[in-house]
């Protein structure tokens, strides 16, 4: 099942001489439970792509469909609500709310939605990410890796259709990076969580199911030519909870 799909996505900044084509006709589709890495150098348009996918920015033209909804047909308020239900974010700089403790940060999206967190699910996430002993700490007292784990937990908590991770290991040392990547991978598999991660680090990208390269606003399949990129089958995928593994195309 295709959970995310873009169609001729274009984002152009400025006009004439100063025109910058940040995205130049991107067509991308991601299947449910897939872990995709978008790799590109700085200025390649990867962040812009992520912002479009998350509905944080409006494209010049084209569409983004998440879980069957065209994001840009939604009004701002509705988009925000859709986002908090269907899209989780993990940022390079963690972006935790400094005045809330770990637990509060994790459940914040649910509480913003007026809902009650599913305690067993939250507990499972916390356990998976190893945050059990830190629940009452404020973010300022956590290491970078710990903060990023909280951010991942926060992204997972509302069972979003997709998690968008923007250079999640950008601020971390290599050991911690491996650690965080491992957790992302584990959660993707354990919770059949679709993840799209952007990074400039090839080594990090290798841990994803599929790698998409982006250059000058256009994407290429790993080592391939411009065009629609399809998923590369991953032989080791093991998602026991998933009932949709056969939807991988």
């Amino acid at each position: 099942m295709t959970i995310l799909e873009t169609h001729h996505l274009r984002k152009i900044y400025g006009a004439g001489e100063t025109e910058v084509r940040a995205l130049d006709g991107v067509d991308l589709s991601v299947e449910k439970g897939e872990f995709v890495a978008v790799v590109g150098t700085s200025g390649s348009g990867k962040s812009t792509l992520l912002h479009m996918l998350g509905g944080l920015d409006h494209p010049t033209s084209g569409t983004v469909t998440v879980d069957g909804r065209d994001l840009f047909s939604l009004k701002d308020e509705a988009l925000t609500i859709f986002r908090r239900r269907k899209i989780g974010f993990v940022f390079q700089s963690y972006n935790l709310v400094p005045v809330l403790n770990v637990r509060e940060n994790i459940v914040l999206p649910i509480q913003l939605d007026g809902g009650k967190p599913d305690e067993s699910y939250v507990g499972e996430i916390i356990e998976t990410l190893g945050l059990g002993s830190k629940l009452q700490n404020l973010p300022g007292n956590l290491s970078g890796g710990q903060q990023q784990r909280v951010a991942i937990a926060r992204a997972l908590v509302s069972k979003p259709a997709i998690i968008l991770a923007d250079e999640p290991t950008g601020n971390l040392d290599s050991v911690t990076s491996q650690d965080v990547m491992g957790l992302l991978k584990v959660t993707s598999e354990k919770f059949t969580q679709t993840i799209v991660m952007i990074t400039h680090n090839e080594e990090i990208a290798q841990m994803a199911d599929r790698i998409v390269r982006i250059e000058d606003g256009r994407i290429f399949p790993s080592g391939g030519t411009p065009g629609t990129v399809c998923a590369i089958p991953s032989p080791e995928r093991n998602t026991p909870q998933s009932s949709s593994r056969d939807t991988r195309g």
Binding site: D57, R85, F91, V97, L100
Partner: protein, 886 residues
């Protein structure tokens, strides 16, 4: 240490970072300007009042010369005036004073003044000139001409009858110049040539050196280099020429001196009491603190905002000292814009307020001071406040480690490690956000509360002005009618010329509407009481030196049992007046019996109405002997030689007097009372007693009515007021009146002055508070722009975000209100104690009205300011905001 010429580079950096923070600059300039406004307006008012006070003191003393050497002979005058200490001098010779109608209500002096002295006495002809020697010319002011019914035209002849050392004389002058009468000046002058003074003295055979009130003597008015130590300078001048002003008895080298007490500089040094000094210091500190609060807040916030920038500068090698210098430099640059603005605005406000304040301060000349000291001191105070305020932010910028600075967010200052609650709501987030930078929150709440507290103090203060208490002290009946002289402070003692005839009382009572009224008779003949020496000394020692006291005691006649005779002052009161006495002990019922042999002893009360129980000797039940004296004989206490009546006493010999013909009457003290000042003699004299009116008439043999006091019905009050105004102005100007409403008006204007000043002060401080609040909210939102973007990206809707911000604003408001309330309640008793001791007519009435009025305003601000600021912040897109830091 290696010296590097980098100051130029630092200056450049400072300028560049300043240019980048335009919004901050505007707020900082406003804050600095407001602080300066506070200083300047207050200094302007204070110095204007001081100047006005000085000016009116000059007018009251009659001039602005530093001092006067009094009652000199012509030789002494010639001798002293050449002293090198004296920068400038003027001559004044007093000749006499007219006292009969039309001059009975005015103080007018006839005499000679040279040009300098005339100028010092404000006698500057607006038309014509001062009189020339050898002519019959005279110059005077418009009041005198008005009283005489003479048109101010040069060449007009006018005639004045006046007393010269007890001898009446009538003189005609030709008007050679006139000036406009100034209400603040007590005395009017008729200036005549010295030749005329001499001629009159000669004609009346008055010798200046022997005249009782020094008529015709030479008075030397002088100006020294400065007014700092007039007293010392005058002593020095006397010493230089072998004179002294200490003791009259020491020989014939005594010269009386007078220092112009109008020079507050000379006065202040002697008179400033610790309480006043403390009050002034507290006021200045409060303003500095208020200014500090806001300027500090602005810089603190701005440094927090720029901390990444400072961290960046540090990573590339800028030292903490240089950062501090940069911040200081910015502060000074901002001051350069804010201070002049504040000076101008503050002076303008001060200048507008001064006349209003002054109008309420009785008899002070309205001047708006342009004293450069105002601007200099205000500017210095502001600059001091600014530098003080940017010290801590500067230290903060200097001390932050560069890498941390790069990652710095406001939350970085959160010192807590854990947070217990696990529920999140918009309200709890708002609350947590205020806790992020506790210092900022406290300062904001504090500055808002300060304004509320100031307002509450003002309102409590002016509300506490108790009209009833005030009136009770001055007024005991709706109206009092008496001779104009009775109401004049510093006028003559009560005498038979000041009686209110029955005819006049009838003219008033016939107007109708009088509910009740009564006469108070005043004593116009000699009466004596007999007191112990100890009591006599205790009373007299207040005004006399030990030496003087001994001399007085030795001269006083004694009874066989050693009691000393002393003057007694008696009242004869009708029931209306008796009703209004304060009975301290005993009861007055026996005094209501016509002709009873009872008496009430009069004790003093202080301003608070507390009786001073040592102010009289007579106790309840005592027998008081009053000696009504018909004749005194005068004698020489040294030789025992008897002269007979006063007129037979030779010049220059010591004398004393004793009663020879008299009648002693015994009374029993039935009550100890105090007489309301409105019904009293209105001057300090001797021990006083109250008698029943009939007893008074019978025993004193006199029937001079001192005053007639009466109440009217509420409906006829106004009619009586206008009748009396007209009656005492035109029909029978020898009389004057006092009414409750005149005091009420005076009281109201006094109160409204404080209301206005306190209101404006509260308003300015309130403005500072609001500015601070605005600043706190704005920076709170701008610094968290990115955080908000994150919150929105993880699903917080715009309306949720706005709601959270409004909660934050409301929490500020709530905090301020709560803190103000606590402060108000805590300060209440202190305020009560302080004000009650300062103002005897103060009654503490706690009020929360200002808080009730201010609370909704704060709530409104708490809602609108965050929304307005957020609108601005939300203009940039989510992605822009998310990216901002990266």
């Amino acid at each position: 240490m290696i010296r590097v010429a980098n100051s130029k580079c630092i200056r450049h950096l400072g300028r560049a970072s300043m240019n980048a923070a335009r919004g901050r600059n505007i707020i900082a300039i406003l804050a600095i300007a407001l602080t300066t406004v506070l200083f300047t307006s207050l200094f302007t008012i204070a110095l204007s009042i001081n100047d006005g006070f000085q000016q009116s003191n000059f007018r009251q003393c009659g001039g602005w010369s530093h001092g006067t050497f009094k009652y000199l002979t012509e030789e002494q005058f010639g001798d002293l005036k050449t002293d090198p200490l004296i920068r400038e001098w003027g001559l004044r010779r007093f000749l006499g004073m007219p006292a009969d109608i039309p001059f009975h209500k005015s103080h007018v002096e006839v005499g000679y003044s040279d040009v300098t002295q005339a100028h010092w006495m404000y006698c500057d002809p607006v038309e014509g000139r001062l009189p020339e020697e050898g002519t019959d010319e005279a110059a005077t002011d418009t009041r005198v001409l008005n009283l005489l019914g003479v048109k101010p035209e040069l060449g007009t002849k006018f005639t004045v009858t006046f007393q010269v050392d007890g001898h009446p004389t009538t003189q005609t002058f030709t008007l050679c110049g006139w000036w406009t009468y100034d209400q603040a000046i007590v005395a009017s002058h008729i200036l005549i040539p010295e030749s005329r003074v001499n001629a009159v003295l000669e004609a009346l055979q008055v010798d200046p050196s022997a005249a009782a009130d020094n008529t015709g003597a030479w008075n030397l008015d002088v100006m020294f280099q400065n007014a700092l130590h007039i007293d010392r300078d005058m002593e020095q001048v006397l010493a230089n020429h072998g004179y002294q002003s200490e003791s009259r008895a020491a020989g014939d080298n005594y010269i009386a001196t007078g220092v112009n007490w109008g020079y507050t500089g000379a006065q202040l040094a002697e008179n400033i009491d610790p309480a006043t000094a403390a009050a002034i210091a507290a006021m200045v500190l409060l303003i500095i603190f208020t200014g500090y609060l806001i300027i500090y807040n602005v810089f603190q916030i701005s440094v927090t905002n720029d901390i990444r920038f400072y961290g960046l500068l540090k990573t590339i090698g800028t030292t903490g000292r240089q950062l501090r210098r940069m911040i200081r430099q910015q502060a000074v640059t901002l001051s350069a814009a804010g201070v002049p603005l504040g000076l101008i605005l503050g002076w303008f406000i001060g200048a507008q307020l001064t006349p209003i304040v002054v109008a309420r301060l009785d008899g002070i000349v309205s001047v708006v001071s342009l004293n450069p000291v105002i601007f200099l001191v205000s500017a210095l105070f502001s600059l001091f406040t600014v530098l003080l305020s940017c010290r801590r932010p500067g230290r903060m910028a200097a001390s932050v480690p560069p890498i941390e600075a790069v990652r710095y967010t406001e939350g970085g200052t959160i010192h807590r490690k854990k947070r217990r609650s696990s529920g999140v709501s918009l309200l709890s987030m708002a609350l947590a956000n205020l806790g992020r930078s506790r210092g900022k929150t406290i300062v904001t709440v504090l500055s808002l509360s300060l304004a509320v507290v100031l307002l509450t103090v003002t309102v409590t203060f002016t509300n506490g002005f108790d009209m009833d208490k005030y009136l009770a002290n001055f007024v005991s009946s709706d109206f009092i009618l008496a001779d104009a002289g009775y109401f004049q402070t510093g006028g003559d003692a009560f005498n038979s010329d000041m009686a209110v005839p029955q005819k006049v009382i009838d003219q008033v009572t016939v107007q109708g509407g009088i509910i009740d009224g009564g006469k108070v008779y005043g004593l116009t003949r000699a009466a004596e009481e007999f007191v112990d020496e100890d009591y006599y000394r205790s009373i007299q020692s207040r005004w006399n030196s030990q030496e003087e006291l001994d001399r007085m005691v030795s001269l006083i006649e004694r009874t066989p049992d050693g009691k000393m005779s002393d003057h007694a002052q008696l009242y004869g009161m009708e029931h209306f007046a008796l009703d209004r006495l304060d009975v301290l002990e005993g009861d007055l019922s026996k005094l209501y019996d016509p002709g009873g042999q009872y008496i009430a002893a009069v004790y003093n009360e202080d301003d608070y109405g507390r009786p001073e129980m040592d102010s009289h000797w007579a106790q309840l039940g005592d027998t008081v002997t009053i000696r009504y004296v018909d004749e005194y004989e005068y004698y020489n206490p040294g030789t025992g030689e008897i002269y007979g009546p006063y007129s037979k006493v030779p010049e220059g010999v010591p004398w004393a007097s004793r009663a020879t013909e008299y009648r002693d009457v015994n009374y029993t003290v039935a009550a100890l009372v105090s007489v309301p000042s409105a019904l009293s003699y209105r001057y300090y004299g001797s021990d006083e007693f109250v008698l029943n009116d009939q007893t008074f008439l019978r025993d004193t043999g006199t029937d001079t009515v001192m005053l007639y006091a009466f109440d009217t019905t509420a409906e006829t009050n106004g009619a009586m007021e206008s009748f009396l105004a007209d009656y005492t102005e035109t029909q029978n100007p020898q009389f004057d009146y006092e009414s409750k409403s005149t005091y009420a008006v005076e009281f109201d204007s006094f109160r409204s002055m404080f209301q206005l000043c306190g209101g404006i002060l509260s308003f300015i401080v309130g403005l500072v508070g609001v500015l601070n609040f605005f600043n706190a909210v704005m920076t709170g939102i701008l610094t968290r722009k990115r955080e908000f973007a994150v919150l929105q990206s993880i699903g917080m809707t715009g309306s949720q975000l706005k709601r959270m911000l409004v909660y934050e604003g409301l929490l500020y408001a709530l905090g301020s209100v709560a803190f103000s309330l606590a402060l108000t309640l805590a300060l209440g008793p202190v305020l009560n104690a302080a004000m009650s001791s300062m103002f005897w007519f103060f009654t503490y009435r706690p009020t929360l009205l200002p808080l009730a009025i201010v609370s909704p305003i704060f709530a409104l601000l708490g809602i609108t300011v965050p929304l307005a600021v957020y609108r601005r912040a939300a203009r940039s897109t989510l992605v822009e905001r998310l990216r901002e830091a990266e």
